[in-house]
């Protein structure tokens, strides 16, 4: 088990190394190059030359790469030029991280608690009304562009019916106390329940929007997997032992059927960040996705570097966790 984790960590380091190489090449190949990227196009030749020297761009490419790597390891990516001008890019990342984590976790919870039961019952009543209906729903769910779903929800629930706030994370008038920067959690910790409730209301529409794609994917994998497991001999054995439906469902069907679902949930992390970029833009939600969209639009390369590395790192870490979780719930891997 330990060897398995170590081997996966080494693989992760390798992937990160390749990402850093690609990122370095990418930054050099950008139109205008890093000087334009940092100073903008209107900088004077003198400042350009000065920066060229500070950045070490007059040195050989391998040296430049080592320089870049050294900066990256020390978290030194430069200051944001556009998104939050003057803020250190890494600081900006940590400021915005809680917002996106809060949103993604809620969306993932929403997706999982709806998709898994629905997938189970659809498979159980294979070919029935519930099955056909939810399969069609999941296919439509994939066919609707995420940002459009966001607009539709916002249009009806915020603009037409005034039920939920259309944008932001929390009403600034509340002047809530910050501890962790997870607003809902902060509200609960400080017992400012109105602040927690307000933060949660701001989360509902974005979370539903963000949950749509993971919901469809998890639903379909669950359904297919349950269908397969229901035909397994060991489920018949469990039935022949007269076990209660609850035990058969949990211990015999779902425990086996959820193994591939766990892997799928891990793979959804990348999809969640993609969705977060679109969702946060629609709802003006100040998280990493919103920062990413702005950074791309306005070419804020310091911020982009941090976000790209963080995305790759996050993906690798989550999938490592998923592999470990998988080993824990599947004895065939654990006891090998």
């Amino acid at each position: 088990m330990l060897r398995f984790i170590v081997r996966r960590l080494l693989q992760a380091v390798l992937v990160l190394f390749i990402v850093s190489l690609l990122l370095f090449t990418w930054l050099r190949k950008l139109p205008g190059g890093p000087i334009d990227a940092i100073l903008g196009e209107r900088a004077t030749p003198e400042t350009r030359a000065a920066l060229r020297k500070t950045l070490g761009l007059d040195q050989s490419i391998p040296v430049q790469y080592l320089h870049f790597l050294n900066n990256a390891i020390h978290g030194n990516f430069g200051t944001s030029t556009q998104v939050q001008t003057g803020t250190d890019a890494l600081d900006l990342f940590f400021q915005r991280l809680p917002a996106t984590v809060e949103l993604s976790v809620l969306a993932l919870i929403l997706a999982v608690i709806t998709a898994i039961p629905l997938g189970y019952f659809a498979a159980k009543r294979h070919g029935g009304f519930l099955d056909t209906g939810s399969v069609v729903l999941s296919l439509v769910g994939v066919a609707v562009p995420v940002f459009f779903l966001g607009f539709v929800l916002k249009y009806f629930f915020s603009i037409e019916w005034h039920m939920l706030p259309p944008a932001g994370r929390q009403n600034p008038d509340l002047d809530a106390t910050r501890i962790t920067n997870f607003y809902v959690l902060d509200g609960l910790l400080t017992r400012e329940y109105d602040a927690a409730w307000d933060a949660l209301k701001h989360l509902i529409l974005p979370a539903i929007t963000l949950a749509s794609v993971p919901f469809a994917v998890i639903f379909r994998i669950t359904r297919a997997s349950v269908l397969e497991v229901l035909n397994e001999d060991y489920v018949r054995t469990a039935e022949s032992k007269g076990l209660s439906e609850r035990i058969i469902r949990g211990r015999h069907v779902l425990h086996n059927a959820l193994l591939p679902v766990v892997t799928t949930i891990g793979l959804q992390v990348g999809a969640l960040l993609t969705g977060a970029v679109l969702t946060e833009t629609v709802f003006g939600y100040p998280g990493l996705g919103d920062a990413l969209a702005q950074a791309f639009r306005q070419r804020d390369y310091a911020v982009l570097q941090v976000l790209i590395l963080a995305a790759a790192l996050g993906y690798i870490l989550v999938n490592l966790l998923v592999d470990v979780a998988y080993a824990i719930i599947d004895p065939r891997i654990r006891t090998r």
């Binding site: 397994e232 001999d233 060991y234 018949r236 054995t237 469990a238 039935e239 022949s240 032992k241 007269g242 076990l243 209660s244 439906e245 035990i247 211990r251 015999h252 425990h255 086996n256 193994l259 719930i329 599947d330 004895p331 065939r332 006891t335």
Partner: protein, 341 residues
């Protein structure tokens, strides 16, 4: 049905199956009759064999008795009276209470029949927790004793292991332990040795004989292997195309097999006392070649003794006129007494 039903069940029958019919098929299609009017009795402690090729309806019969057929896409008729209650009329909950407690079952492939992600101990203990209301720890202790009883060495360790860590024979022993956990009065064994090595097969059969037959549990043995029947069963039912074609006590059946299909099954077993260059007889064709029972004898297309009447008239299951004992036969042109030899 043209065949007269066997005599009504006497008081000492444990399970009495009458006119069991199972049809498969979705709406709009002609249903397929997998089991067609099967009747037989099992007395307490008796071992009854259901013998036939794959597709003859023997497994479907057992699944119907256990209430384990898929909930949709099939129609079950007839009755299966167990201890005065017709199992086929029980609702899902009542049947769940009986399965594993009064009637238990073991299956063909022990690896796929065990849940790969649950430890052996829990898989045995869950039966005890369900039917005997035992607490987890007590059930685990009892499971240990059960594993010991079915001959699994080092049961305390095996309790915590998972199916993939056990050998084929041990897996089947574990399944037997689960089935016998609540001391059921009837055990159905569906080809319990088919997936095992030959040396292990004998061990498992001996174990069944020891634990089941000698302790008074009745056993329905489902097999395609008459060798298994010869060593274990008191009474043998031979099935073909969903119907019983011959029923007799074991020694009677082996001494004078009358139906050409039974003879064919016997002829395909190698015999130690046979001449060295004697060829093994194979039954030509397969179950797929049979004709519906409604237009003659289903076995006629593969039968070496088929005569015109076989293709015109459906034979009925009747007492064999020349036999002294109970010997039911469904054949227009059976082998003379004493069979082929």
């Amino acid at each position: 049905m043209t065949a007269p039903s066997p005599a009504p069940a006497t008081t000492d029958t444990l399970l009495s199956v009458r006119d069991l019919t199972v049809e498969f098929g979705t709406k709009g299609q002609t249903p397929f009759r997998a089991v067609d009017g099967v009747s037989f009795d099992v007395r307490p402690g008796q071992t009854v064999g259901l013998v036939g090729e794959s597709g003859c309806g023997k497994s479907v019969t057992s699944l119907a008795i256990m209430g384990l057929l898929p909930k949709r896409g099939n129609k079950v008729a007839g009755s299966a009276t167990f201890d005065g209650t017709d199992l086929l009329t029980l609702d899902d909950r009542e049947m769940r209470d009986r399965r594993g407690r009064d009637v238990a079952m073991i299956f063909q492939d022990p690896l796929s029949s065990l849940n790969p992600v649950v430890s052996i101990g829990v898989q045995v203990a869950e039966v005890l927790q369900r039917h005997r209301g035992m607490k987890k720890s007590a059930a685990m202790a009892e499971s240990r004793d059960l594993l010991d009883k079915v001959g699994i060495p080092d049961p305390s360790r095996r309790l915590k292991e998972y199916p993939h860590q056990l050998s084929g024979g041990m897996r089947q022993r574990a399944l037997i332990a689960m089935a016998l956990a609540c001391k059921p009065r009837l055990l159905i064994a569906d080809e319990p040795t088919t997936a095992l090595d030959v040396t292990i097969q004998a061990q498992i059969l001996n174990l069944l004989k020891e634990l089941v037959v000698d302790s008074g549990t009745a056993l329905i043995m489902i097999t395609h292997d008459l060798g298994v029947v010869a060593g274990l069963c008191d009474e043998v039912n031979v099935l073909y195309g969903g119907r019983i074609v011959e029923t007799a006590p074991r020694h009677e059946l082996f001494a004078s097999p009358r139906h050409p299909y039974t003879n064919g099954l016997l002829g395909s077993i190698p015999r130690l006392d046979g001449a060295r260059n004697e060829q093994l007889a194979a039954i030509p064709g397969s179950v797929a070649d049979n004709i519906p029972w409604t237009s003659g004898c289903a076995f006629a297309p593969r039968c070496s003794r088929a005569i015109d009447v076989c293709r015109a008239e459906t034979p009925s299951l009747e007492q064999d006129s020349v036999a002294i004992e109970d010997h039911l036969l469904r054949c227009h042109n059976p082998w003379p007494t004493g069979g082929e030899a």
